[in-house]
Structures are given as structure tokens and as C-alpha cells.
């Protein structure tokens, strides 16, 4: 055993001799569940403890001890199964309510508050998890947009706001043969919570949705565009204001509209 987990192996003789503290004992028992070699050592050595016990000279026990013991045994309830444990808990609770009502009320209040606090924390964790997932998705999209920016085969066209939002401007970067590109846009007005911007790629007079997006407080957004067909097959890129979730056709104000003729 010298090449093994020496620290905990050193505890095994003391485990056999029954002199570990409870924390060490728990550690050893966890170790024994995982390590068959250690378990085998303990199984081999355990009879030594029995053997040591027998070195003590037997001594008579007074008859009262047996009498008291069997009095206690008889007064005990039958073997506790899960149902009777529950009943026993109910009995204990009933007794506690009768004997120390204030303490019970206080304990229950603390338990309820702890539970409520636990639920609040759990809900908060869930919200944070969702936020982390959204941020991870946004980050992945940003990385895809950056890839398009750095692709030497990409083309870039300028896009501009309509008279409704003339400050809006940006660039659409895409590889003409692919269905994916990136839009970087600034100057769009932040929208109320029930509205989003929706990106459209228009072929002839047929608009096809390329996703929805929102902007930050400075009106900026970086959008990964996924087109239903090769981007070079479209004529125009546009952005409209739509209800959250997007629309099948543009229904709100058109705030960006630009032809897809590469200018760079």
C-alpha cells in the first residue's frame, strides 16, 4: 500500500482500532467505498479488533441492565419503514406544537422563509443562466460576423437609413456565393420593449426575413444574416420595425433600405 494514497492509507490502522474522529472516519469510509484494495485490507484486519475485544476479561452485568434494556426495547415502536417514519415525524411535530408552540412557529417561519429565499435564488439563477445563454449566442454571432469581415473573398456594401431614421448607416459584408453575411449598423433608434428591428433581403418585390435584432442604447447592432438563398440572388437589403418575434412580411416603418450592389 506504500505506493498508494499514503495519507488516507495511514488512517486505516486507526480506523480498525476505532480511534479516528468522525470527520476522518467519514473520509475513510468514503475511501473504502471507492478503493477495493483498502477495503480488503480493512476486511483482513477487522478481526484483530474483535480479537482485542476478547482480551478483556468478561464481567457480569447486573440483572437490572437487562431488565431496563428490554423495557426500552418493548416501549419502542416497530421497525421504522418510510411510512411509519413519516407518521413518527407527524407525532413528533404534534408533540412539539403542544409543548413548545412558539418555538415551533418560529422554526416553521424560518423554514418557510428559507424555502422562499431558496426559490428566489433558484429563480435568479435560472434568469442568469438564460442571460448567459443569450450572451453566448450573441458572442457566437459576433464571432461569425468578424469572420466575414476578415474573409478576403467578402464584399462590403454601404447601407443607409431612410428618411424615417436618416442617422442610420452601416455596412453589409458578405461573400456573394454564400447564404451568410454580417451587418454592422449604427444610428438606429432604440425601440420600446414590444418592438424589434427585422432584416429583409428582397428579391424583385418579394421580401424574405433574415432575422430580427435590437440595438444597444447607442443605436448599434451587429447582426449575423442568414439568408434563405445565396445572397447574390437578392437585390435589396432593408430593415423594418416589427412586433417582437418578427412578421412574415414587413408591416411597420421601413427604416433602412439599400441596394445590394457592392461598392467596395
Amino acid at each position: 500500500m506504500s505506493e498508494r494514497n499514503t495519507g488516507i492509507d495511514d488512517l486505516l490502522p486507526w480506523y480498525i482500532l476505532g480511534t479516528l474522529d468522525s470527520e476522518e472516519q467519514q473520509r475513510v469510509e468514503a475511501y473504502l467505498r471507492e478503493d477495493p484494495t483498502a477495503m480488503e485490507y480493512v476486511a483482513q484486519m477487522r478481526p484483530v479488533a474483535t480479537f482485542l475485544t476478547l482480551s478483556a476479561e468478561p464481567a457480569a452485568v447486573s440483572s437490572n441492565v437487562k431488565k431496563e434494556l428490554f423495557g426500552r426495547i418493548i416501549s419502542q415502536p416497530p421497525a421504522p419503514d418510510s411510512a411509519s417514519r413519516w407518521l413518527s415525524l407527524k407525532e413528533k411535530l404534534r408533540f412539539a406544537v403542544r409543548s413548545q408552540p412558539m418555538l415551533v412557529v418560529l422554526s416553521l417561519t424560518i423554514a418557510v422563509l428559507s424555502l422562499a429565499w431558496g426559490l428566489v435564488l433558484s429563480a435568479r439563477v435560472s434568469v442568469l443562466r438564460n442571460e448567459v445563454s443569450s450572451l453566448q449566442a450573441a458572442l457566437a454571432n459576433q464571432q461569425r460576423v468578424i469572420l466575414h469581415l476578415s474573409d478576403p473573398g467578402s464584399k462590403s456594401i454601404a447601407i443607409a437609413g431612410t428618411e424615417l431614421q436618416p442617422e442610420a448607416s452601416g455596412r453589409f459584408i458578405f461573400n456573394p456565393g454564400s447564404r451568410e453575411g454580417g451587418v454592422i449598423i449604427t444610428g438606429l433608434q432604440p425601440l420600446p420593449g414590444d418592438r424589434v428591428y427585422q432584416l429583409w433581403l428582397i428579391k424583385g418585390d418579394v421580401p424574405e426575413s433574415a432575422g430580427t435584432f435590437t440595438v444597444d442604447q447607442d443605436g448599434r447592432a451587429s447582426i449575423l444574416v442568414k439568408a434563405p438563398a445565396s445572397i447574390s440572388s437578392y437585390d435589396i437589403i432593408g430593415v423594418s420595425v416589427e412586433p417582437v418575434g418578427g412578421s412574415l412580411q414587413p408591416t411597420g416603418e421601413i427604416v433602412v433600405l439599400s441596394p445590394l450592389s457592392p461598392d467596395a
Binding site: T19, D21, A56, V65
Partner: protein
């Protein structure tokens, strides 16, 4: 049904099913051995009797947790008794400001260990002979731990021996006792 011929393991099985006759039989078999152990460790009759009672009450309540795959019923029973003794010893010592109390315990057990006159029973004679065959320093470690309830650090401190040496002595002593058990054909089953 006559239960006298039942093994300890069979009795524990019946105790798990709340068989009062079975716990009584187990008590009759081993209460005096446990009393002897408790007296040797605690040195006080009333406390030793409490240990006997608590041990069998624990057996009554925990028999369904006994796992025959992990050792003989006798080992399990004695381990419960020993654990109760050491717990009680430590509790009592901590309530009497430990150091002096532990010194007393140490002296009692080192000086009284392996009583040569206690060989009236063959098995106990063999046990004590095996213990006596250990080198003094190894036997001292075993007795300070098992009967004195001292931790390895406390043994190192009280004997003035490095902790590593105490560890080695304990391991060697157990190995030798185990080998001796095999030679004499001792089994706890």
C-alpha cells in the same frame, strides 16, 4: 422456535425483524464480553453498564443496516460497543479538562495490560498471549489506541515518539496480530 443454535448473523437478521427473543439471546451471548471491554476502557461499573445497554439498544435499532458482506456479526457488535466506549471516554475526558485524565488512563492501561492471570478461558488466553508476543512498543501503541481511546497524535505526544513511528508501530502490530490469529485459527465468524 428454538433459536439457541442460530448463528450471530441469523440472530441479527431476526433482530432486524423485531424479534425480541433473538436480541435476548444475543445479549446473553455477549453482554458479559461487552461489559468486560467497557470496564477495561472506562474503569467504572455504572458507566460500563450504560454502555452495555446502549450497545444492545443500538443493535436493536440498527440491525437492518448490518451488512454481512462487510464482516462478521460479532465484529459489527463489538465495533458498536467499542465505539460507544471510546465516545464516552472522550466525552468524559473532555469534561474533566482532558490532559490529566488522559494521563491517568494511559497509566492504567499500560500498567494493567495483558494480565497474565486472566487465562481462564482458552480463547482469551490465546488473545493475551498474542498481545504479549508483540514488541512492547507496538503493544503499547495498540493498547493506548484501542483501550485508551488515544489518537495517533496523542500517542506520539505521550510517548515522545515521532508520529511516523507511531503509524509504523500500529501497522506492524496489526499485521503481526493478524498473522498470529491465522496461526491459532482464530476467526470472528
Amino acid at each position: 422456535m428454538d433459536q439457541i443454535g442460530l448463528t450471530d448473523e441469523e440472530l441479527i437478521g431476526k433482530i432486524a425483524n423485531r424479534d425480541e427473543a433473538a436480541i435476548e439471546l444475543l445479549y446473553d451471548r455477549y453482554s458479559s464480553a461487552i461489559m468486560g471491554l467497557a470496564l477495561k476502557i472506562l474503569g467504572e461499573r455504572a458507566t460500563a453498564e450504560e454502555i452495555v445497554q446502549e450497545t444492545f439498544l443500538r443493535v436493536w435499532n440498527k440491525a437492518n443496516r448490518y451488512d454481512a458482506g462487510r464482516g462478521a456479526a460479532l465484529s459489527w457488535l463489538f465495533a458498536i460497543a467499542h465505539h460507544q466506549c471510546i465516545d464516552r471516554l472522550r466525552r468524559d475526558q473532555s469534561s474533566m479538562e482532558t490532559v490529566e485524565g488522559r494521563k491517568v488512563i494511559k497509566n492504567v492501561f499500560i500498567e494493567q495490560s495483558v494480565p497474565a492471570a486472566a487465562a481462564s478461558v482458552q480463547r482469551r488466553h490465546l488473545v493475551n498471549t498474542a498481545l504479549a508476543s508483540l514488541p512492547d512498543e507496538q503493544r503499547q501503541v495498540i493498547e493506548m489506541a484501542f483501550f485508551g481511546g488515544l489518537t495517533r497524535q496523542e500517542i506520539a505526544r505521550q510517548t515522545g515518539v515521532p508520529l511516523g513511528t507511531v503509524q509504523t508501530r500500529a501497522r506492524l502490530a496489526l499485521q503481526k496480530l493478524r498473522a498470529r490469529l491465522e496461526e491459532i485459527g482464530f476467526t470472528d465468524e
